[in-house]
């Protein structure tokens, strides 16, 4: 069985069924997502290009996606402008960030 070609976009799904289609190049900045999508690790996620997070809700996942793009954009630049974080999300976000490895 040959592996399907890698798609440009992947789908991240939150536990309350919000779906986010993000660039693969941005998504793999998160270690956990990268491992899940890596075809060589033979996960279902790798085949379907779709990762479901049972412990992250839509609001948080949206912020995470936002961050992934922000990170990708500023990858090479110096003195990056600060990422805007609503303080009330911080605690949940920090757990998600730790889990995702970003």
């Amino acid at each position: 069985m040959t592996a399907p070609p890698l798609t440009e976009y992947v789908t991240l799904v939150s536990n309350d069924a919000f779906e986010f289609k993000v660039l693969r190049s941005a998504a793999v900045l998160a270690g956990t997502i990268k491992k899940a999508l890596d075809p060589s690790s033979n996960f279902k996620e790798g085949a379907t290009n779709r990762v479901t997070f049972h412990n992250i809700n839509g609001v948080i996942l949206e912020k995470v996606c936002e961050y992934l793009y922000y990170n990708q954009k500023h990858e090479e630049s110096k003195d990056v402008p600060d990422f805007d974080l609503p303080p009330e999300l911080c605690l949940e976000l920090i757990v998600a960030a730790d889990y995702l490895g970003v």
Partner: protein, 620 residues
């Protein structure tokens, strides 16, 4: 928490000495010149020159000046010329262009022929609004040199202030923050990690947080550190960090905590194994009692500045919990904790593996004696304020040196006896398992001693070496005795790198200023490799120059941080990517330089990394 680097120390002793000499010479020259010329004229001239520069001084002064000038203008001109000559002879330092000098002379003369400014009490038309007003000593000078009425004067002052304010912050604020981040070790490239961002945000809103919930331990730790750094650890916020299931409580800045808060720690966290409290000013005997009673699993204690605990209470602690204690780190104790307490410590804590006693003021020789009986110690850090005869220290190493993994002896001097290298010899002869060695601020041991230590040492290569400030201290002879170098000098440094270079990760040779340029060039020749070296501090080694720093980058593939405060020969280094150079004194715009260039020797490494997949920017 990072160590602080103080750019204010960015001065080389050499430079200070040079400028001092220069000033001496000047003073001598000046004295001679003044003896020839008329000293009074010179003084008068300086005064006149000063006056010419200050435009906006009070009108009273101006009026007085002009009156004087009317009286004997010509005399003054003659004096100025005379004075100028005298001054020119005396101070060769201020080499201004001759044109400029002539101009200023001319201006000074012209100034005298100007219309006299009105005296206080007279009437004058305002330069801006042309209104008539009475001149007072407080009347301000206008842009063209005339006087202003009070409202216009106020307006002017306001504008000047506003301009001053507007000019400053735009450039500074951003830069300060950036520099501070850099010195904190945050990489300048790419975005910060999301975890890092969240932690910073949380610390900013410390007082609004009700509880942390189920945060992973590592993040809790990091948060606690950041809270401490921001001094946000107070009786309310510390409770956020207390959870019953934890086994470690670390409050790195406990100065705001009150006596009851310490009890709270032991009440909430029954299984406490490791306790870290720094600046624990209000930690008292009663807390100690409560800790002895509640924290029955305690194995690791680190207390800094707990000066309200009495000697007896320390002894109580060791009697009650001594059997279980594995590590004890105490710093900044000066009200209590004396030699007897250390004796009790050695007596009742037979299983102690790690001991750190820094800046405990009451400790002396008897502490060293007592420690000889502490046979299970593996990590020992000592910094005593009292002088200890070297033979006692040698004796201590002889007794417990064989087991030690870490040995840190800071500022041990023996001012009474003749300096010897016995201590280094003892370390050479007994220590077999050291991986971290710190021996600092010593001006007694000789270079030969260090050579002997690192030559044929049965100890495997060390990972962490700190030999800062081992040099001769003699202001009259800054280079030290030539034939018998004192401190870690050329040969010692060579021997060190030959012995430990292969495994060395951290090296501090700050202020070891007798190491020669030739030696540096030999050790870091660009081909010899030090594969594990990550951090190198060569501050205040005056011979270190651009070439050596460049060679360090080539010789140490893993190096992340090179510190060169006070190395005045370092300029315009091209810093390779991923490496950081801190403290290059001639880099006016940045204390720290980040590598942008990808060097040839890095390209292969990059290829490998690319093969492994893109690596997201990692935060320290």
């Amino acid at each position: 928490m990072r160590e602080f680097v103080d750019p204010a120390n960015n001065i080389s002793a050499q430079e200070i000495r040079d400028s001092y000499r220069q000033r001496l010479d000047h003073a001598a020259a000046q004295g001679a010149a003044e003896a020839v010329e008329n000293g009074e004229a010179a003084a008068e001239a300086t005064q006149n020159e000063d006056e010419e520069g200050v435009q906006a001084e009070s009108s009273a002064m101006a009026a007085e000046r002009s009156r004087k000038r009317k009286r004997n203008t010509e005399e003054a001109v003659a004096k100025i010329k005379k004075g100028k000559e005298a001054k020119k002879k005396a101070t060769k330092k201020k080499k201004r262009g001759s044109d400029e000098e002539d101009d200023s002379d001319y201006e000074a003369v012209m100034d005298m022929y100007k219309k006299a400014k009105p005296l206080p009490g007279q009437l004058e038309n305002c330069e801006l609004c042309s209104k008539r007003f009475t001149v007072t000593p407080y009347s301000k000078a206008g842009p063209d040199g005339g006087l202003l009425c009070t409202p216009c004067g106020k307006e002017m002052a306001k504008e000047a202030k506003a301009n001053e304010k507007a000019a400053k912050p735009a450039v500074r604020r951003g830069r300060r923050k950036i520099e501070s981040n850099r010195l904190d070790g945050l990489s300048g490239r790419g975005a910060k990690s999301l975890v890092q961002l969240c932690i910073e945000k949380l610390a900013k809103h410390a007082e609004d947080i009700d509880e942390f919930g189920e945060l992973p331990e590592s993040i809790m730790n990091r948060l606690s550190e950041i809270f401490s750094k921001k001094r946000a650890m107070n009786p309310t916020s510390v409770k956020l960090f207390l959870r019953p299931e934890m086994d470690t409580v670390a409050v790195h800045e406990a100065a705001y905590l009150e006596t009851e808060d310490y009890d709270q720690i032991f009440a909430v966290v029954p299984n406490l194994q490791k306790l870290v409290l720094r600046n624990a000013c209000q930690f008292k005997d009663v807390n100690m009692d409560y800790m002895i009673e509640k924290a029955i699993n305690l194995q690791h204690i680190q207390l800094q500045g707990a000066n309200l605990v009495s000697n007896d209470k320390w002894i109580d602690l060791f009697i009650a919990r001594g059997e279980d204690l594995k590590s004890l780190k105490l710093e900044w104790l000066d009200a209590a904790f004396n030699d007897q307490v250390v004796e009790a410590l050695v007596e009742f804590c037979p299983n102690l593996e790690r001991l750190k006693l820094e800046r405990c003021r009451l400790l002396g020789i008897e502490t060293i004696e007592a420690l000889t009986r502490s046979k299970n110690l593996q990590h020992l850090t000592l910094q005593l304020s009292k002088d200890v005869p070297m033979e006692r220290l040698v004796n201590l190493i002889g007794h417990i040196g064989a087991n030690l993994r870490t040995l840190c002896l800071q500022e041990f001097l023996d001012r009474e006896n003749d300096p010897t290298d016995d201590i280094l010899q003892a370390i050479h002869d007994t220590c077999r398992h050291l991986s971290k060695f710190r021996f600092t601020e010593n001006n007694e041991c000789s270079d030969a001693g260090y050579v002997a230590l690192f030559s044929d040492w049965a100890n495997p290569p060390l990972k962490h070496i700190d030999l800062q400030s081992n040099r001769d201290v003699d202001n009259a002879n800054p280079d030290g005795p030539e034939d018998f170098p004192i401190g870690l000098a050329s040969e010692g440094f060579k021997a060190l790198m030959a012995h430990s270079g292969s495994k060395l990760e951290y090296l501090n040779i700050k202020s070891c200023r007798h190491i020669s340029h030739k030696t540096f060039a030999e050790v870091f020749d660009g081909t010899k490799q030090y594969p594990n070296l990550q951090e190198l501090d060569m501050s205040f080694c005056p011979v270190v120059d651009t070439q050596i720093v460049a060679a360090v980058f080539r010789s140490c593939p893993k190096i992340k941080k090179v510190v060169t405060f006070g190395c005045f020969e370092v300029a315009d280094v091209v810093v390779p990517r991923g490496m950081t150079l801190i403290g290059a004194p001639k880099a006016q715009d940045a204390i720290e330089q980040y590598g942008e260039m990808v060097m040839d020797f890095q390209k292969e490494l990059m290829k490998e990394m690319e093969k492994a997949g893109r690596v997201a920017p990692v935060m320290a």
